[in-house]
Subunit: 149 residues, 2 copies
């Protein structure tokens, strides 16, 4: 069981943007370089984050992105629910299961998934970006060459 790469990238973007001491905006190219991931994979992720209002994008020469909400008001549960979507933990239809029309396993898994998300509602973006993570994120921002600012 693993989160999708899409969710993984969205968490990295939000965590990177949680850094509070940045005067200028962050570019997608910068995040791509920092995490060594393809820029085009990030574009799709950032577009959804903008649609959700969690990230604000500004166009133009000195444009870029920043958090659209306080990091303390966004929970990891909210983020994962949105990014993972509503797909069930087991795909009863892909490799069609003969039990799919009356399977109690589905209910048990849905219950457990709800507890999973509820637990993550107890953690905000600010929580997971506090020390020691905060120090690592700050270090990344300090290493950005001024030219890409």
């Amino acid at each position: 069981m693993q989160l999708t790469r899409y969710t993984d990238l969205s968490l990295r973007v939000l965590m990177y943007l949680s850094y509070p001491d940045r005067a200028d905006l962050v570019t997608i190219a910068e995040i791509a370089t920092q995490f060594d991931v393809p820029r085009n994979h990030l574009v799709k992720v950032v577009n959804q984050l903008v649609k959700l209002g969690w990230v604000v994008a500004t166009r133009g020469r000195s444009g870029g992105i920043r958090l659209g909400v306080p990091a303390g008001s966004l929970t990891i549960g909210q983020i994962l629910r949105e990014m993972e979507g509503t797909k069930a933990l087991i795909d009863c239809e892909g490799e069609i299961c003969v039990l799919r029309n009356g399977c109690r396993l589905r209910g048990a898994l849905a219950d457990a998934l709800q507890q999973f998300y509820r637990t993550l509602d107890g953690y905000t973006l600010a929580d997971i970006c506090s020390a020691p993570t905060a120090g690592l994120i700050a270090q990344m921002h300090r290493l950005v060459p001024t030219a890409t600012h």
Copy 2:
């Protein structure tokens, strides 16, 4: 986020074997036919289930497999922990993340995963194989041609 196909297949095998009114043993070929999945994929799954003692295999002409424990004593939490293994929900090393050495996200996800499994410890194999699932499983067994028994 999805369970691995390996876990999916192991659940199908255990659910199928939960049927109490079967006089003869079940063969892997029979399960492969019933769920329309490749026999060789099931062999690996059944081997692990036998190692865990949850399934008992008998060799020989009228050999086959059956549950090795009462369905009421095996929880879905136990099954998923074993079959999913200890892999984290996010792969920090595969596409190496610069935050991996001090990331609080990891702790939050581990906490949530524990709650997920704890919830599933509240469901036994017998629970998820009760009605209406029981009826579907019984129907499958009744459809087995006597020749493959």
